[in-house]
């Protein structure tokens, strides 16, 4: 736990240094060139940009904890408001995708291992291999092209349909379904890319687990095959998958940012990409920090989950 805090502080500090030391005028990075001189003066003193580096750092930390990231050049609004707005969208998409792909990977990997060498296994393994190695943005584009453009089953962009959400008479359920409808394609993209690796890990983990002594004991106890598979082998075999989810979180969030960008899903990842291309430094910095927090916290969650699932750690 403490580790996470330390890591975060290091990231915070490195970012601070980078922004101050990179070529160009650091002041222009934090202050919108379109601002009036008086506002600019105010902001500079608020952020301590006219002070020596050490003092600036203190200001920086203080501002961070107060949630003051300055104003976005593009939106003209406080950065904190923007990223706070975007956060739930990212969490919704990302968390759902990871959980679904992990569960699918565990379930299918278990089945693949049980049918090892047969057609079912070959199909699943090849499927996992292929989907896992497809280039994510390209997969997203293909999905849009086929399902949104050609077949018109899903919307091409965005998270919501304005006409649905702006209509005051529309029920919550309809709004919720609308979001889901928009979520299908981006979710599928993330899901397809990730479940393959979990499937392969679960499969090999099951094959290893099935060689264990306690499986032999279970068979000797005269238990049914299904019970041995699902009750004895799978819970043990699923543990490495959980670990793998944690290890690949950084990679997954890359994919998350790409997916949001392609599908115009209003999340933090997309915000980061856009703010970087538009030189909206305050927003870029804050988005990056928030993503870093998300990744670190997710790691923590996975660690806790693993400790909960494995009694050897819990007790």
């Amino acid at each position: 736990m403490i580790q996470i805090v330390i890591i975060f502080f290091v990231i915070l500090t490195v970012l601070f240094l980078l922004f101050r030391l990179a070529p160009g005028d650091p002041v222009s990075r934090m202050v919108d060139p379109d601002m009036t001189p008086e506002d600019a003066e105010l902001l500079i003193s608020q952020l301590g940009l006219d002070q020596p580096l050490g003092v600036q750092y203190v200001y920086y930390l203080k501002n961070f904890f107060m949630g003051n990231f300055g104003n976005s050049f593009n939106y003209g609004e406080p950065v904190i408001k923007i990223i706070w707005d975007r956060l739930p969208n990212t969490i919704l998409l990302f968390t759902t995708a990871i959980i679904l792909s992990a569960l699918a990977g565990i379930f299918l990997g278990k089945i693949a291992s049980w049918h090892k060498g047969e057609k079912t296994d070959t199909v699943m393994t090849i499927g996992a291999l292929v989907t896992h190695t497809v280039f994510l943005p390209w997969l997203g584009l293909i999905l849009i092209w086929v399902f949104a453009y050609k077949l018109d089953w899903f919307p091409i962009t965005g998270m919501i349909s304005e006409d649905v959400w702006l209509d005051p008479d529309v029920s919550f359920l309809t709004k919720f379904l609308d979001v889901l409808h928009h979520m299908v394609l981006p979710l599928s993209t993330l899901f397809l890319i990730h479940f393959g690796s979990y499937l392969l890990i679960m499969r090999s983990s099951m094959l290893d687990t099935l060689k264990e002594d306690y499986i032999l004991t279970a068979k000797a106890k005269g238990l049914k095959e299904k019970v041995i598979r699902n009750h004895h082998a799978a819970p043990n075999a699923a543990l490495p998958v959980v670990t793998s989810v944690g290890l690949s979180l950084a990679f997954s969030i890359n994919g998350g940012a790409l997916t949001e960008t392609i599908f115009t899903w209003p999340g933090i990842g997309r915000e980061l990409v856009m703010s970087v291309s538009q030189n909206d430094y305050p927003l870029a910095q804050a988005s990056f920090l928030l993503i870093a927090i998300v990744v670190l916290l997710s790691n923590l969650v996975v660690d806790i989950l693993y400790a909960y699932l494995d009694p050897r750690i819990r007790y």
């Binding site: 032999l216 004991t217 068979k219 238990l223 049914k224 004895h232 819970p235 494995d310 009694p311 007790y315």
Partner: protein
């Protein structure tokens, strides 16, 4: 009718290098309440026999020929489902290296209850829990440890829990494969004593598999000595230890130290057992046998009956 009658059992494994004949032509019988010990070095086939009795041979293993009659029914001819129901209820097994025999993610009592409930659908969880309490008392594990996970147990406790689990369905026969190898001598002794008591109390037949003669000598009524897949001597404890007939048995006995008795020189047996992928015709022990004759290499030895209860597979006796 004997509880268990094994007739001319031959078992082999398909390996990349060829077909390995692990067990050849083994026959023995076991009465109710009796204990039989199988002794021999690693690779002699004793574990294979145990696994075959439960029909738990690995995928590349198969019974080539023979019958296993348990309470009159041939186990080898039973359907998979019938065998599954018979496992643990009729015959239970305690495996070699049982340190990992319990599933680490489930509590100990749940695993034992599972066995009970699988074979007696009429009993409830409460009944099962009560039975487990009694079993734990029997084997000497404190009741308050029932809800623990296996990794929280010491080695000796784990072994006792496993014995309790084996007794859970009151089987007629328990096959114990090297159950005490991983334990220190003191715990080993305790468990052996408890095993003997349990056997007397419940009239369970036990097949005890070990490479350690001293252990087998302690617990078993009858002894079977195995070498290179064959049963080479069979008799009561007194007969096999008192008057061993087969040269291998003699060599085996003299390679073990005795705590009391004279300080003789320990005599290891030189050489190695033959490769069972192409087992030699003739006596399989002759290369290492001190009393081998020229004919031993080509002629298969025959069973020689020394007493109605004591026989050995050797051409050089009498």
């Amino acid at each position: 009718m004997a509880l268990l009658e094994v007739d001319n059992l031959s078992i082999g494994y398909q390996t990349p290098k060829g077909f390995l004949e692990a067990v050849e032509g083994v026959s023995f019988s076991l009465e109710k309440g009796e204990s039989l010990g199988f002794v021999g070095e690693s690779g002699c086939g004793k574990t294979t026999i145990g696994m075959a009795l439960m029909r738990l041979l690995p995928r590349n293993g198969s019974v080539k020929s023979g019958h296993i009659l348990f309470e009159g029914k041939d186990l080898l001819k039973m359907s998979d489902e019938e065998m599954r129901l018979a496992r643990w209820k009729k015959i239970a097994m305690i495996f070699q290296a049982a340190m990992n025999a319990l599933n680490p993610v489930h509590r100990v009592d749940d695993q034992i209850a599972e066995a009970i409930l699988a074979h007696d659908p009429t009993s409830s969880r409460e009944d099962a829990k009560k039975q487990i309490e009694d079993l734990f008392q029997l084997v000497g594990v404190p009741k308050d440890r029932m809800r623990d996970y296996p990794h929280q147990y010491s080695g000796g406790m784990k072994q006792r829990a496993i014995i309790a689990m084996a007794l859970a369905c009151r089987p007629k026969l328990i096959i114990a494969d090297e159950p005490t190898t991983a334990l220190d001598v003191i715990v080993q002794h305790q468990i052996l004593e408890e095993t003997k008591n349990l056997q007397k109390e419940f009239k369970i037949s036990i097949i005890y598999i070990s490479h350690d003669i001293s252990v087998v000598a302690d617990v078993c009524n009858n002894i079977g000595v195995m070498y290179a897949g064959q049963l080479i001597e069979y008799g009561s404890r007194a007969e096999v230890f008192g008057s061993p007939a087969h040269p291998y048995t003699k060599a085996l006995l003299s390679s073990y130290p005795t705590l009391t008795g004279e300080k003789d020189k320990l005599e290891p047996i030189p050489g190695e057992p033959p490769n069972l992928i192409n087992p030699p015709s003739g006596c399989r022990f002759c290369d290492r046998c001190p009393s081998a004759r020229a004919s031993c290499k080509t002629e298969s030895p025959a069973w020689v009956e020394l007493t109605p209860t004591h026989s050995a597979l050797c051409s050089c006796i009498r």
